[in-house]
Symmetry: C2
Subunit: 446 residues, 2 copies
Amino acid sequence: MGRALCTDFYELNMAASYLRRGMTAPATFSLFVRRLPPRRGFLVAAGIEDCVEWLEGFGFDEGDLGYLAGLGFEERDLEALAGLRFTGELWAIPEGRVVFAGEPLLELTAPLPEAQLAETFLLNQVTFQTALASKAARCRLAAGEAMELVEFGFRRTHGVDAAMAAARGAAIAGFAGTSNVEAARRFGLRASGTMAHSYVESFPSELDAFRAFASDLPERAIFLVDTYDTATGVRRAVRVIGELGLGRRAGIRIDSGDLVAVSREARALLDQAGLTEVRIFVSGGLDEGDLAALVTAGAPVDAAGVGTRLGVSADAPYLDSVYKLVAYDGRPVMKLSTGKETAPGAKQVFRRPGLDDCIGLRQEEVPPGAEALLSPVMTGGRRLAAPPTAAQAVRSARDRFVRDVAELPSAAGRLEDPEAPAPARSAALEDLTAEVRARHQQAGGD
Amino acid sequence: MGRALCTDFYELNMAASYLRRGMTAPATFSLFVRRLPPRRGFLVAAGIEDCVEWLEGFGFDEGDLGYLAGLGFEERDLEALAGLRFTGELWAIPEGRVVFAGEPLLELTAPLPEAQLAETFLLNQVTFQTALASKAARCRLAAGEAMELVEFGFRRTHGVDAAMAAARGAAIAGFAGTSNVEAARRFGLRASGTMAHSYVESFPSELDAFRAFASDLPERAIFLVDTYDTATGVRRAVRVIGELGLGRRAGIRIDSGDLVAVSREARALLDQAGLTEVRIFVSGGLDEGDLAALVTAGAPVDAAGVGTRLGVSADAPYLDSVYKLVAYDGRPVMKLSTGKETAPGAKQVFRRPGLDDCIGLRQEEVPPGAEALLSPVMTGGRRLAAPPTAAQAVRSARDRFVRDVAELPSAAGRLEDPEAPAPARSAALEDLTAEVRARHQQAGGD
């Protein structure tokens, strides 16, 4: 699969040059989001587990090296690349934590060529997985406590990887299940789903379809009632629920129309038939705004499937993430490009209650009453702790999310015009920044 | 990997029910985009090759079946699923063709359970790959003929699959290369890239960095000039180009600032030094609007890297794609849900010159002067022709794109407020739709 070739070409150029020159002193790169998208007041860290796994398996195989030879890399470059493994150290903010702009999600310290070659993959995974988990968190907040959410995005995510990450990110943010069977298996999630319109259409009549499904799969009898006429569909569902004695195991799903009005009408029909415990499930192009509107209107919706707009984080499909060199060979460095200045040195994020954060230097002492968000995950190229199972990793991340989100300032959590907290910077970080800026401006002007 | 579990749970429920009931008559599903996003006047078909490959390898292995047993599927269901392979027929519009709303990109005919189980994967691949290729096509049109484009999106695509599809889709739409090394290998593309800001920062000075890179990799000496001060960076590049006699092999890259102004300043500095053939490459958050602005301003830009906003199709990260049952057991069917009505029967798209399209029924004769866009790709579960190499598939798709886009009406191709042509419908399709609607409304009212 060419795992090490999952990189941008310039990383290889730089690595080759560094290796020829023996520039293998430790470099620290910091991965963070510069600015949040306009409609994000917070982010939910995700993607770190995949980074650790990739780093553990990093290396070039024969096929990779043969391809690079064809691109013009010299024998000495190929020999040097052949011997590369990841031997460095990784610090990270654990998945599921709520984070803000400027806070390093990862910091990697390794011989410069190794650290450089990891850039593309690490940025890719952390950026998109954090974007998806953050979108899911907004949906979860919007839906209120009573409504159950299920992730439905597989058909429109950007590929299979993305589908797995969407299901996983949604689970971290408190979704109750996913339609994605492989993701359910892989991450120990609840697989959820019943029937499609095509099922109903495959039978001579809607009533035949409902009877068939409910007798074959009585435990999953959520009747999709809007293939033809929704009210008629609900009445037929009522009839089949009665015929088969399904009672509270059953539900209905509405996938089109004005969901507030239609869910009310459906609830009334169900209640009139004494089916007060039959649940109403809605779906169909929903996002956090639609969920909030259902809650505000008091629509009798018990559960919702959230698909496409979650699965691609439609209003913010990417984050302004970067992977910046902050130290090389013991020397803190920074970038001065217009509008893209970065702060130097290995960092730490100190969090006080209420998600009151301060970005400082890693060597600073943790201030009283604060906790340090970044902790070491790998050293010498290996994990510090045995890897969690995939399911454990998701459960732990969800627990962290639940704890953090409970402390989220309401202005950061609101859907419209959220105000993202701006982490403070420690005096030590400010001092170092001024010092390195002065030194660079001197070097830049030689 | 559980390839057959890369599906939504409801597909399995429906398949199990169909299998128990012997509902294995042929079903035809049509995959199309209902409406184009507001800023799209056309789409570029992509993702079909991955669908064919998936269908060829479709099947449940022991691990898959064991997992399904745990979800409550009965022994008879598992036995039936264990025997499933894809045995059907696939028609498709070839990759690279320009397509419009309502036109089936794929039509699959197979025993109902097989056809149902393919829904999620086929929708996923065609939707996102078509979205990415269509975004790339807009960039290619905006950049004009003189500017070369390179795909730079890997670090922000939604995973590795998506990165490969972004590079591939961009190549189909006429990009000259990609930064993604694995994609370059896989699809026979040009790998492109030079140095990052971190390279410059790893040396005591910018001048040292430029000298090092150019002496190590003289064939890739594109100097990134904006780490500190851009004009100073250009002057240093000029100095190193002269010192090492790089001449026309060299170039500079500008990744920040006002690209129109900075590229002009850089061009003037290069020209003053007699380096009129040294190329200027720009990058940094560009999309088709930025490319068009560079062209309009007459900025002296020879090549551009287009990354994130292409790689996630930022302004339209998904398409309103559907996979609809249009025939079952020889009987045309349709869905009547409010606002989601679909046309019945297996279809064909007849194209006259100027991309003047008419959607008709598959069995209709091709009208004089028209061509039929869908052609058979698989029958009996196998490809009709030997698979192309990955590189051939991209080249053929690019040739198709070049031919089609030359005929694209200008209103469909413009960047702002494009007008997407609305394909006509044949009389035979209109008649069948009326007939099936009447029959369904009768069935719906039983």
